[in-house]
Amino acid sequence: MGQGFTESEFMICQCARLMEDGRIVFIGYGMPQIAAILAQRLHAPRMVQMYEFGAVGSLPETPFVRFTMGGPRNCYRSLAWTNMNTIFAQAQLGMVDLGVLGATQIDRFGNINSTMLGADYKHPEKRFPGSGGANEVLTQCWRTVIVIMHERRRFVKKVDFVTSPGYLDGSPGARERAGLPRGTGPWRVVTSKALYGFDEESRQMTVLGVLRGFSVDDILKEMEFTPLVAGTMEQLEPPTLEELRVLREEIDPTRAIIGWTARE
């Protein structure tokens, strides 16, 4: 890659940019943790991190250490330490503004799969770890950001398995009819090249912006289905120097998560 940043760095920055200050944000394992620290350091110092392991309002220590979520460095200086049932109860009550998740597959209505690939559940071609807390997040948080690599096999017409609910079949009120909380659902999809939202009416995935240097066509050819394209396209800026400095110097100096660019 000839860019001055890695795909991971861009995705983390995009994700962080979507985290508003003064919000309660459910943080999933891995990349979302890094994005949350970045957001807190740059523009969202009063964002409240919430973890399924029970930490609320933590101010994670850096450098970030891999594998830590319930550990002392990630839960440092929390406002409260509680447990999983309490956290998901508060999400169900409507207290969590934003959730951030990874996924293996996604379809045009934002349904996500993190369970298995193949036509037959009983004989999966490939098995993945399963929902984790993803189902809760996509069910309960007011908005959910999904972070996914930009690969054709991941943007599919129909996911092999609906692990966590998007807009289902896209019909009006489909989530509400099923008993899911009103006004929730996938909000943004962050990839290594693009940013998507979902159309208010048709619930279809919609390209909102493309990383500078790429065209919409570049994006579409890496997708199995054709999304809508927003009337006004946003140009997504590469990571800024300040974002990269915080990522590389403060958060992940060993590059365990963000990786190295081809130049380095």
Binding site: F53, F88, S131, G132, N135
Partner: protein, 323 residues
């Protein structure tokens, strides 16, 4: 209150009255010394075919030494609650201990994935939240609890949940069945010889797991006096009468960490991850860290060593709040 949909995943319905009868006769009310070696605790309380649950994670305050002892004793046909595992599921599958897994989050590695793909391990789909909620139901002595999670997904289809029309609002809601594990494994920071136990820091569900389980094995970093327990009753996470065995297991979470006491052993995790995709490498890992040592103490002595223990203790610089 019609049943609108019923998941087809494998699960067991516990009769609440049989559970109560067990709790009445098998859970000792007297405060008796329950401290015993891990080998004895596992021999007594973990049987082939049992449903086993643990708290809370592979990285933090997990009962790793007890899981290794189960493998060492070669238990078979267990069903495992993978609320959030990144290591235990794989180790137990690789060692041939499991018949099935309640998923949760079932990490990590291709070895585990292949076992499911090839049908050697059964799975029932849940989520971290609903699997934990099932423990709460089990802890409350009710057959189910309601949730808005799972609805409208294939996860529900392959779970044991049922969707009903709520008689109060007339809207669909999911009911998840209680789980009452035969054995709950909980690692704690401190407990007394009777099992009054303290966990410091956030967690998944130590109390729910201990309440829901028919047998609870506690492994502990430190054994303290009951007098100390009585001085700070708010710190008691699990009361003694829920506990069947207390195993003294300092550094028992390794390669995970215990908050405020020692950090996780990242190098060990990387070694494990390198082995987690390959049957032969994993067999070597199991031999090295489990079968070839007779106990947790020998594991610490021969496979970790004093220098590493001291280094991991040194790394635990954040003490704030963990007491």
């Amino acid at each position: 209150m019609d049943v609108l949909q019923a998941g087809i995943g494998e699960f067991r319905v516990e009769d609440p009255d049989q559970l109560r009868a067990f709790m009445r006769t098998e859970k000792r009310r007297e405060m008796v010394d329950k401290v015993m070696p891990e080998a004895e605790a596992v021999r007594r309380y973990v049987k082939d075919g049992d449903y086993v649950s643990f708290d809370f994670s592979s990285f933090t305050r997990g009962p790793a030494s007890l899981v290794r002892e189960i493998i060492r004793q070669r238990r078979r046909h267990l069903w495992f609650a993978a609320k959030f595992t990144l290591m235990e599921s794989t180790l137990l599958v690789a060692a041939g201990c499991l018949r099935g897994i309640d998923v949760g989050f079932m990490g990590l590695g291709n070895l585990l994935a292949r076992a499911v793909e090839e049908g050697r391990i059964k799975v029932t789909e849940w989520t971290n939240g609903t699997l934990t909620l099932r423990h709460l139901a089990g802890a409350m002595g009710v057959p189910f609890l309601p949730t808005r999670n799972l609805l409208a997904t294939d996860t529900l289809t392959y779970s044991g949940a049922k969707v009903v029309r709520d008689p109060f609002t007339e809207r669909p809601i999911a009911l998840v069945p209680a789980v009452n594990p035969e054995v709950g494994l909980v690692h704690v920071h401190q407990c007394d010889m009777y099992g009054n136990a303290r966990c410091f820091g956030p967690g998944v569900s130590p109390l729910e797991t201990a309440m829901a389980s028919k047998r609870t094995i506690i492994s502990t970093e430190e054994i303290i006096t009951t007098d100390d327990i009585r001085k700070e009753p708010a710190k008691t996470t699990i009361p003694y009468y829920l506990v069947d065995a207390v195993v003294y297991a300092p550094f028992g979470c390794l390669p995970g960490g215990a908050q405020g006491m020692y950090e996780m052993d990242t190098e060990h995790f990387l070694e494990y991850m390198a082995a987690s995709g390959d049957e032969q490498k994993m067999a070597a890992y199991l031999e090295k860290y489990i079968y070839s040592v007779a106990s947790h103490e020998e594991f610490l002595e021969k496979r970790v060593g004093v220098a590493r223990l001291l280094e991991l203790k040194r790394q635990a610089t954040i003490k704030e709040g963990y007491h």
